[in-house]
């Protein structure tokens, strides 16, 4: 025993001496090892942090830890977007309550939340719409002064439109249609249309609504990705969820909650949005208005958007803004009109950007419509049902929401929430009663099941011809469910949209497209997944279970791709390092031929030489690995302290936010240690074997 210790001590001492005496070799091999370790620690830690932040965003905003959906669909679930521009067909979970009963009792399942995504378009109305609404109110209130004022506005709008319609003749093929439209515009401007307006108010309003309003149809269409769910359960299960503006959809009430990101990015006034964007590019991406041409181009384009502000001002506001901007810009050019002033104001540069940004929000924003849809409003949205019909309905916007800690992630803001009942209507799922009624009807008329293309044909006509104009009083766009309802009732129904209710049972019993499963212990995801799969198989349901990464779609795969690239890179680096280290070691061995020969000559066994070599490399590996690992960990911790800024949109997306705060996972350090150990051993193997083969006699020959 003592003997062994002594020889170990000797071996250790010789190894240390060798390391210090072959300084250049040790330094080279050591630095390669240290560098490799550092790279591994940094790379894997960064990647784990990215994955973690992405998991945080994905699972705590939408997917939960597991998702369940049908096996019968044609496409895979991709909640954050897939590869086609069409709505993916992921099948249906016909009766959610059945699944709920099955999954809820499983150990480790905290909750199961029904879901379904559809895309809806909404129209925020246009200038004519709001003027007509004002007119209707004035008529109701018998306010003839107001009616007179609004009459002037409508005539003005119609004359503007008439000019624009003449331009359309340059590109339009169907001049007949244009002439009809022009007739409407001229009719509205005629004085006899207004003379007996009071007497025929309803008919005239109808004419304006149906004939004039569609002509200004350039409206403000916007898209909403709507996630139908059980709002109360969603709030409880996704604990980062919080209300930003307005209020939560009250229990049992129907309506929509907008995501704050969607509200800010897609529904905000374009000028404000562009200003926000410039601000972000300066502050987060570190770009400068002074020398960044792309950014300057953005500002120039922004300055030309002054109409978007002017259009939303009334007479008093126009005068006020004119004076304010004249003072602010201290312009002494009376010939400049307000358009010019606003354009000048918006042409910001690096010196005045912050000041003007604040000025805009303090003084100009209150005068304009900062968002297309405001909290508390009721808006009309439409969606294509799965049969291809357009379904329209009024929904109340209760508020906006965000997820705590990931407020800035674009990814977390991709969907807006609504209740399951509203979703099912937009999706085109009929209730059992409606279904039964339809079946009866079908039997009576002997009609076939309507397929999607027939539905489209029925709606839009099967050939290239435009849909024929309908009867007077009927809208050409066949989606407005209130089209033939009395106008006053329409207003009333709009007001009532927020009052529609449903029972909890309605949410549970019925269709869902997918379901999120929230776990109590998130680390036991695999185990619980198998348990749920087993339960589903037992019941013979045609459903499958996927984890958050699979459910996210292409976003989830992205991480896998980056990981693959990183591992490939690390593998290649270590492979080359291995060859180089091996090479250096062989060189060093050659130099020590006589020394080793001498050792062998005085009785050192081959094993001794082998151990000596291994120990040398291991000691070097240990020192280099520790140094490299530590410096890597230090770098990561420093980066975690300051945060790594996402310098462009793509990186922002990958980081799932504007900054990444990485931290060291000690598992990675350990992994790096193991890898460096293995690499050291392999690299030393050949030189060590070469060394053991050295015959004692070589030493005798010595220096010839």
């Amino acid at each position: 025993m003592g003997n062994l210790l002594v020889s170990l001590r000797i071996v250790f001492l010789i190894a240390m001496r060798n390391l210090t005496s072959h300084r250049v070799k040790s330094l080279i091999v050591g630095s390669i090892m240290a560098f490799g370790t550092m790279l591994m620690v940094v790379g894997t830690s960064l990647l784990d942090s990215v994955e973690e932040s992405m998991e945080k965003v994905v699972s705590s905003s939408l997917t939960g830890q597991l998702q369940i959906y049908s096996t019968q669909g044609r496409d895979e679930l991709s909640l954050f977007g897939g590869l086609t521009a069409s709505r993916p067909d992921i099948g249906e979970i016909e009766d959610f309550s059945k699944l709920k009963q099955l999954v809820e009792p499983i150990e480790n399942v905290e909750a199961i939340v029904p879901m379904g995504v559809t895309i809806a378009t909404g129209a925020g109305g246009n200038d004519i719409d709001s003027t007509l609404a004002d007119l209707r109110r004035a008529v109701d209130a018998n306010n003839s002064v107001e009616v007179k004022k609004l009459e002037g506005q409508i005539v003005q709008l119609a004359s503007l439109l008439e000019d624009e319609y003449e331009y359309r003749a340059k590109i339009a093929a169907d001049t007949e249609k244009l002439e009809q439209d022009l007739e409407v515009l001229q009719r509205v401007q005629e004085s006899d249309f207004w003379e007996d307006f009071d007497l025929n108010a309803n008919a005239r309003l109808m004419y304006l609504d149906t004939k004039l309003a569609p002509l200004a149809a350039d409206g403000k269409l916007f898209f909403l990705r709507l996630l139908g769910t059980d709002p109360q359960l969603f709030k409880k299960s996704f604990d980062r969820f919080e209300i930003d503006k307005g209020q939560m959809i009250p229990p049992g009430k129907r309506g929509v909650l907008l995501s704050r990101r969607a509200h800010e990015r897609f529904l905000k006034h374009r000028v404000a949005r562009q200003l926000d964007r410039v601000k972000r590019e300066i502050e987060v991406e570190g770009r400068s208005l002074e020398d960044d041409e792309l950014l300057q181009g953005r500002v120039r384009r922004l300055s030309r958007q002054y109409r978007r502000i002017l259009f939303q001002l009334d007479v008093a506001e126009t005068a006020r803004l004119d004076k304010m901007l004249r003072d602010y810009l201290s312009e002494d050019t009376p010939e400049d009109d307000l358009a010019k002033l606003v354009e000048k104001f918006l042409l910001v540069d690096s010196n005045n950007f912050d000041e003007r940004y604040n000025y805009f929000y303090e003084n100009i924003a209150p005068m304009i419509e900062l968002y297309r849809v405001n909290v508390g409003e009721t808006v009309t949205i439409q969606a294509f049902t799965r049969r291809g019909y357009l379904k329209g309905m009024n929904v109340k916007i209760w508020g906006t929401f965000q997820f705590k800690g990931i407020e800035d992630s674009d990814l977390a803001g991709v969907v807006n929430l609504t209740d399951m009942v509203t979703f099912r209507e937009l999706y085109g799922k009929m209730t059992d009663a409606q279904q039964a009624e339809l079946e009866e009807l079908r039997e009576e008329v002997g009609a076939d099941v309507v397929t999607r293309d027939e539905a489209e044909d029925a709606l839009f006509g099967g050939d290239a011809e435009l849909m024929e104009e309908g009867q007077p009083g009927e809208l050409t766009e066949g989606f407005d469910e209130f089209a033939e309802v009395d106008v006053l009732e329409r207003d009333e129904r709009l007001a009532r949209a927020g009052e529609l209710t449903y029972e909890q049972e309605e949410i549970d019993s019925g269709l869902a497209l997918n379901a999120a499963v929230i776990l109590k212990d998130r680390d036991r995801i695999k185990e619980t997944r198998s348990a749920i799969e087993a339960a589903i198989a037992r019941e013979g349901l045609k459903l499958r279970v996927v984890n958050w990464q699979e459910a996210a779609g292409i976003v989830g795969q992205l991480i896998t791709v980056i990981r693959l690239v990183l591992y490939a890179a690390i593998f290649i680096i270590f492979l080359v390092a291995l060859v180089i280290i091996n090479n250096s070691m062989v060189m060093a061995t050659m130099e020590r031929v006589s020394e080793i020969g001498t050792m062998r000559a005085i009785g050192a066994p081959r094993g001794f030489i082998l151990v000596l070599f291994m120990l040398e490399t291991l000691a070097l590996g240990l020192i280099a690995g520790t140094l490299g690992g530590l410096s890597g960990a230090l770098m990561i911790e420093a980066a975690g302290f300051y945060g790594i800024p996402a310098y462009n949109e793509i990186v922002r997306f990958i980081f799932a936010g504007p900054y990444l705060y990485p931290h060291v996972t000690w598992g990675n350090v350990l992994l790096a240690a193991v890898v460096i150990f293995v690499v050291s051993v392999i690299a030393t193997l050949y030189p060590a074997i070469v060394a053991t083969r050295i015959q004692p006699v070589v030493a005798m020959r010595g220096r010839e």
Partner: protein, 450 residues
């Protein structure tokens, strides 16, 4: 000359004598060269793919497009009097290969069993003979389960009215085949829903992710769908003999069109669909012309190339640093081992610069042979990968690489760059040990060996 030959011979002999050393270092150099060539080939392959799918589907080398605003809040991606504009372009473009113009639309495509949204590109197939060559038609089995290997249809039948050529993924999704009918639905410029029925005349192989969102129809289909006048078009696409001259040609055409009295939009390097918002808010009515080069129209894809190049460069830089350290170490040992030899050479009257040259030559030869071998091996690997037509299994990778197959494009350029780079880095790394060798005093050198 003779001395140079002698020096090279000695260097060669040294390399052969130190077989183990040469072998190890050579292997490392070969490995890194291989890697460099393959990474460059991958980057080039992806770049080629982007250019190919972009110039087939969505852009010319230079585009003369524009917006027409009938109302001040409108923005339609249209050009009026397309034939006049086309004539001007044709007469004023140097190095022109050919010019086409295409109508653009966005429609919902409906089949009896499915629906999807896609760009529809209105083409005049007689004008676009190239398109027929570039679009490889897909065998039926590509889009239909249990389909035959036979290629049905013919893209040149786009000359017939109300026809469509779509891509395999779309056909699979819509569950349709050549001869079937599709309904295209969109809204006319004044907001009315309108439809056109078309017959599928061919199904083309996918060209990366862009082909999921594009299909070809005769021009008249787009005009009908949007109820547009005949001489209205979407974009004039200019194809040049040399794609690298795109920017120069665009600058020239801007001046020409300005002189012709056209109003131009400010140059904005972005695809046309990213410009709707800006133009609809601007205060003008009528026609403005917008010029772009091909990379602007696929700007949203260029990050893939940037990312790939960044990763490649970082990886290569790290590897070259490691290799440099290795070369230096080896040369250093070689210098020390041959101290007496150097001393003798110097004593015999060899000048310092010759000694330096001797060691540098050794590194040069090693670098040259190893990188030549590496580049050759990499080319063989790349060719066999291409021949094997490996289908990429992960959707995300397919989307990122814009290709269904793994394609490495290695040309003489990549080959020579790799060899040049590796050889020069080897020589540079050998510089310091070689200088040390040259500086040795003959007497000391011989003494040291005692």
């Amino acid at each position: 000359m003779a001395t140079l030959r002698m020096i090279l011979l000695i260097a060669m002999r040294n390399l052969v004598q130190a077989r183990v050393r040469t072998l190890f270092l050579g292997t490392a150099l070969t490995l890194v060269t291989m890697l460099l060539v393959i990474l460059m080939g991958l980057s080039q392959g992806i770049s080629d793919n982007i250019v190919r799918s972009a110039t087939t589907l969505s852009t010319g080398h230079v585009n003369v497009a524009g917006f027409f605003k009938a109302t001040s809040t409108d923005s339609a991606p249209l050009i009026t009097d397309a034939s006049r504009l086309k004539k001007i372009v044709r007469e004023n473009t140097e190095g022109l290969d050919y010019v086409v113009d295409r109508n653009r639309g966005w429609a919902r495509i409906i089949s009896p069993t499915g629906a999807l949204a896609s760009l529809i590109l209105g083409v005049d197939i007689e004008e676009e003979e190239r398109l027929v060559d570039v679009l490889q038609l897909a065998p039926q089995s590509d889009y239909k389960e249990g389909g035959s290997q036979q290629i049905l249809g013919d893209a040149s039948r786009l000359a017939d009215p109300n026809t469509v050529v779509l891509f395999a993924t779309q056909a699979e999704r819509l569950e349709v085949d050549v001869g079937d009918k599709l309904t295209l639905r969109s809204q006319t410029r004044d907001g009315r829903a309108n439809t056109v029925d078309v017959t599928i005349v061919a199904v083309a192989r996918d060209i990366g992710i862009l082909s999921n969102f594009s299909m070809f129809v005769p021009k008249q289909v787009v005009l009908d769908l949007y109820q547009l006048k005949p001489d209205t078009s979407g974009a004039i696409q200019i194809y040049l003999d040399d794609i690298d001259r795109s920017r120069e040609v665009m600058e020239h055409l801007r001046l020409v069109l300005e002189k012709e009295g056209y109003e131009l939009m400010e140059y904005q390097p972005a695809p046309f669909f990213a410009k709707f918002g800006t133009t609809s808010g601007e205060d003008w009515i009528g026609q403005k012309i917008d010029l772009t080069v091909w990379s602007d129209e696929v700007e949203f894809l260029m990050w893939v190339l940037t990312a790939l190049d960044t990763v490649s460069y970082a990886l290569i830089a790290i590897l070259i640093a490691i290799i440099a350290v290795g070369v230096m170490n080896t040369m250093w040992i070689s210098v020390r081992k041959r101290t007496s030899e150097i001393g003798t050479l110097r004593a015999m009257g060899m000048t310092k610069s010759r000694v330096f040259l001797l060691f540098i030559s050794e590194a040069f030869l090693l670098g040259l042979f190893a990188s030549l071998l590496g580049a050759t091996l990499a080319t063989i690997i790349a060719l066999s990968i291409n021949a094997a037509e490996i289908t990429i299994p992960v959707d995300a990778v397919r989307a990122i690489l814009l290709s269904d197959k793994l394609v490495l494009a290695i040309g003489p350029e990549q080959f020579l760059i790799a060899i040049g780079m590796l050889t020069s880095f080897t020589v540079i790394s050998a510089m310091w040990p070689s200088i040390r060798a040259a500086r040795m005093q003959p007497v000391e050198a011989i003494q040291q060996t005692e």
